[in-house]
């Protein structure tokens, strides 16, 4: 199969995969113990969304560092695209998370450490875009945004690692570390669906991201044609 043909087929494979994950998550996965009714099924969407929000934050960091080294407008476009998608998935994760929280703990919001972290992540994304909007000069916008993204990334671990020790977490722990080995507390069927969902959402992110980067490339090409 040629590269182009593969590129044409991949989105369809991704679509089928995600459809399969949705059906499996909602209908097939066995009920998990310790949850009210079917509320646990939201995990198959919530966890991958939160994962993609964090992944996008990392992609944004890499693109920002690259921009400061290469000064290529495309790297800035990459950073912005990752942040846009990251913000979208952070919002989705927050919404699905608070629906789950309402069903499970009776309240939409509890200021649980992980809830706090995702809100901070949302605030950082919002600040990132507020900064981008406030700078007119493209080159300056790109470097200021990159600098903010890197600075924010450096302070983020302090939230994730400092806050959870201050307060105790309500969040269900899906992974338990025992004697150095990581053991999963899940039913094999549930685990299969969750990992398939993680892979599917990562693929979805990659597809949307490549779409955005391609768009930026086309716009840049049009700009330089106008210059010529």
């Amino acid at each position: 199969m040629t590269k182009d043909a593969l590129k044409a087929v991949l989105p369809w494979v991704l679509g089928l995969w995600l459809a399969g994950v949705t059906v499996a998550g909602l209908l097939w996965a066995p009920a998990a113990a310790g949850f009210h009714g079917d509320s646990f099924r939201i995990v198959f969407f919530h966890v991958p969304q939160a994962w993609v929000a964090v992944l996008a934050f990392c992609v944004n960091l890499v693109a920002s560092i690259r921009y400061l080294r290469t000064r290529a407008p495309l790297d800035d476009a990459r950073a912005a695209a990752a942040a846009r998608l990251g913000m979208l998935f952070a919002i989705l994760a927050t919404v699905t998370g608070s629906i789950f929280a309402k069903l499970e703990w009776g309240m939409f919001w509890n200021w649980d450490p992980r809830e706090t972290s995702i809100v901070i992540l949302l605030l950082i994304y919002a600040a990132y875009f507020a900064l981008r909007q406030a700078v007119v000069d493209e080159e300056r916008r790109a470097s200021l945004a990159a600098a903010f993204a890197i600075f924010a990334f450096v302070t983020m671990p302090f939230l994730i690692f400092v806050i959870p020790r201050v307060y105790s977490s309500l969040h269900p722990n899906l992974v338990e570390a025992t004697q150095g080995a990581v053991r999963f507390k899940m039913d094999p069927g549930m685990r299969l669906v969750l990992f398939s969902a993680l892979a599917g959402f990562t693929g979805l992110f990659a597809w949307l991201y490549s779409f955005e980067v391609r768009l930026a490339r086309v716009l840049a090409a049009r700009h330089s044609r106008e210059e010529a």
Partner: protein, 220 residues
Amino acid sequence: MGVVIREVIVLNAGVVTVRFDGVTKRFGRQRVLAGVGGEVRPGHLLVVAGPNGSGKSTLLNILAGLLRPSYGEVRYLDGDVPLPRDDWYPRLGMAAPDMAPYEELSALANLRLFARLRGCYNGDGPLGTLLEELGLAAAHHDRLIAAFSSGMRQRVKLAQATLHLPEVLLLDEPSANLDADGHLRLGTLVERLKPTTAIAVATNDPREIAWGDAKIELAG
């Protein structure tokens, strides 16, 4: 004045040439500069002329390294060796309408600060002499800039731009707000610095255009 300037000639053995090619600058969708190129070197004064909004100040800012061009490049050459960007500013002096002195400091305190920052502070004497040579009488040296007229400010700006004997001097509308006397003093200063300093002047004043050995005419 003569004493100070003769010192310049002795000290500035290094010759820095600023060369720029295809400099284009876009602000959003608006294009300000399109593929401008040229050279600034000692003894070869470059005049940048053009109607308001044609990008004279933008070009000078790009030459100073204060603004990145959208396309094209600027190089500072020490002989044939390009200098890294970090080495541009110490060799550079600049005066522009958007470079105000500190209002809350006196004229002398402003110059003292910049001399200290540039590592060439040798007491107030030379700084006072420089101000007087630019036509600012000693009585004004310790007064706050806030009380200065715009012409007096312009003289402080010019002193700030030249106090460290720069190798590259960028002057954006240098005679703005200057009276006939001020203009004369500016002309003397430029003429004496010219042999050892790469100077670029952005202006539409015919008297200053006459200083130029080369001219870039930017379209509106």
